[in-house]
């Protein structure tokens, strides 16, 4: 749609601007402040320059957390996106059964994150949980509080459980917007199921799928509550992702300078990757003329 140039539109944006400035810019400036100052207590701060950043970039702590985070996000994206598409393709198109599927699938999305953690913590326990108990009686050595692989597997399965539905619902919405005529044309051309998927369904879903990937990337990169409840970052530091490490540093050890420098680097990483996604997405939008 052609947009009219109208500078008065700023007035319409003003409330959002004021609100978000209050809850984003002020806190962010606090963080920037801490990241370049040092303190000996009693609120005496002095200029420290980039010492915190140098410290941080030379210590393995942040790099390890970042590494774990990247591995985790990649794994869950690699599972959730294809699985979500697959589920969406298999969802009933209309009728009561479709509503039932929609409602049940949305359920995990609306469970508070710490309760998601609690559910899986209980479910995976060897003594009282269905999953842990079953695996244990089958002779699998499974203990997510001690085993490295058990902890990771539990967290990944939990995230798949929690978020695949979001990808599936978005993909499903994309599928719903395809007019019947497209399928009829494909039938006349005797296109195979794969060809229908590749040349009709996938292009029509590309918009919503980019959003799904963007959302899943951002949110998995920020993950805190669920692993905190289930493993607490352990065993050892095996599941200490960026947010867990940061909260430990800022609110646990009150190591403000380091934590602030950490925050800024963390935020910049998310920003950079999301910017790439966003650019790709707006280009897609333009191409499709959506």
């Amino acid at each position: 749609m052609e947009k009219t140039v109208n500078q008065k539109a700023w007035f319409l944006v003003l409330p959002v601007l004021v609100l978000v400035a209050f809850s984003a810019i002020i806190p962010l400036m606090t963080v920037v402040n801490y990241s370049v100052q040092d303190s000996f207590g009693q609120n005496n701060f002095f200029w420290a320059g980039l010492v915190w950043f140098e410290d941080l970039l030379h210590s393995p702590r942040m790099w390890n957390a970042l590494g774990r985070q990247v591995v985790f996000s990649s794994i869950i994206l690699a599972i959730e996106v294809p699985l979500g598409i697959f589920i969406a393709l298999n969802m009933p198109k209309k009728g009561l059964w479709a509503t039932v599927c929609l409602v049940l699938m949305s359920l995990p999305l609306l469970i508070p994150w710490n309760v998601v953690g609690t559910i899986w913590q209980v479910f995976a326990r060897v003594d009282i949980g269905l999953l842990g108990y079953t695996l244990d009686s089958l002779g699998v050595d499974y203990n997510y509080t001690q085993g490295f692989y058990a902890a990771w597997t539990t967290l990944i399965v939990m995230d798949v459980w929690h978020w695949t539905s979001l990808v599936a619902l978005l993909a499903y919405a994309g599928l719903q917007s395809i007019p019947d005529a497209y399928y009829q044309a494909a039938r006349i051309d005797q296109a195979s199921r794969w060809k229908i998927f590749r040349y009709i369904e996938l292009p029509k879903m590309s918009g919503v799928l980019t959003i799904a990937i963007l959302l899943r990337f951002m949110d998995s990169f920020k993950i805190y509550t669920e692993p905190f409840v289930v493993t607490g970052g352990g065993p050892g530091n095996a599941t200490t992702f960026l947010s867990i490490d940061l909260v430990k540093m800022a609110l646990g050890q009150f190591d403000l300078g380091n934590a602030a420098a950490f925050s800024i680097i963390y935020f910049l990483v998310i920003l950079a990757v999301s910017w790439v996604f966003y650019t790709v997405m707006t280009n897609l939008d333009k191409k499709d003329g959506v």
Binding site: V5, N6, A9, W10, L12, V13, V16, L17, V20, S23, A24, P27, L28, T30, I87, L89, N90, M91, P92, T99, C101, L102, V103, L104, M105, L107, P108, L109, L110, I111, P112, N114, V115, T118, I119, W120, V122, F123, I128, L130, Y133, L170, S192, R193, V208, I211, M218, F221, K222, Y224, I244, L246, A250, L251, S263, F267, I270, L271, S274, Y278
Partner: protein, 284 residues
């Protein structure tokens, strides 16, 4: 995975078997995977701690509602639910009402810095709450809002306002501009046009935006826990404290968890008919 099944379904269709069977199996398996952990939580919430810890049972042998009674009669428990619902509602109302005019501006006009502003808004959706926890605590303490519902509601606008703007902009782009122009020619003022004509047109968008604001505010724990201590303590935080304090009261913990699922389930039930439509029209 998707392509393998695709070819398989194609083969099956060629053999003129109804396709719905394969899909139904997939869906049943997936729903089972989703519901099993939830069932286990419900199952535990109806057991006594004795039964939970001593024997392994697939359903409660000794059915009890004592866990629920504990929660529903103890103010320190049930006030958690009330607090959560208050700040979630406040947040949804604030987020959607400031996002409406902004989304209209983004969808209709181009102005200096609009693209940068839009991306800057989105960056707030990307910001990790962990980064903001400590500064928020200091900010809201210094303005005397610590431990109030409005503090949590305002803090959650950080990620909900950008999301609401994003969703609503997508919906509003779908409304032809001729409608605006006709209304202005007919002598409507901007305010009247917006409320009387435009808002009803994007009502499903408003519904979807409200749904997502509700959802992300309801499930968030880190900020709401950091910003409250007693008066506005959310249910999620009440749960974490009780776990560490009383150790192993699994039954009550499970019951509290089950009760947090109910508001979400109700919201889904009410919006069930246009959630898929909403997803399709909008951007999220």
């Amino acid at each position: 995975m998707a392509d393998a099944t695709a070819t398989r379904t194609a083969a099956r269709r060629a053999a003129s078997l109804p396709r719905v069977n394969g899909s139904a199996v997939v869906m049943v398996l997936y729903l089972l995977f989703l519901l099993l952990p939830i069932y286990w939580l419900i199952n535990m919430s109806l057991k006594t701690n004795m039964e939970i810890l001593s024997t392994f049972t697939l359903w409660p042998n000794d059915l009890t509602f004592a866990n629920y009674r504990t929660i529903l009669t103890d103010a320190s428990w049930y006030m958690g639910y009330v607090n959560s619902i208050i700040y979630v509602t406040l947040n949804t109302v604030i987020s959607v009402s400031v996002a409406l005019p902004a989304a209209y501006a983004f969808s209709r006009y181009s102005f200096v810095g609009d693209k940068h502003l839009f991306f800057w808004l989105l960056t707030n959706r990307m910001a990790p709450p962990a980064v903001f926890a400590l500064p928020f605590f200091q900010l809201y303490s210094s303005v005397g809002l610590f431990d109030t519902h409005i503090a949590v509601a305002l803090a959650h606008t950080l990620f909900n306002v950008p999301l609401a703007v994003w969703i609503l902009e997508g919906f509003m782009r779908g409304v032809p501009k001729e409608i605006d122009e006709t209304a202005y020619i007919d002598g409507y003022s901007f305010g009247r046009f917006f409320v009387k004509i435009f808002m009803p047109l994007v009502s499903s968008g408003i519904g979807v935006a409200a749904f997502f604001c509700f959802m992300f505010s309801w499930v968030e724990l880190l900020l709401s826990r950091t910003l409250t201590s007693v008066e506005a303590k959310p249910i999620a935080a009440t749960m974490t404290r009780t776990v560490s304090a009383s150790g192993l009261d699994w039954g009550v913990l499970a019951a509290a968890g089950v009760l947090t699922i109910i508001p979400g389930a109700l919201v889904i039930y009410f919006v069930r008919n246009y959630i898929a439509k909403g997803f399709a029209l909008g951007r999220v």
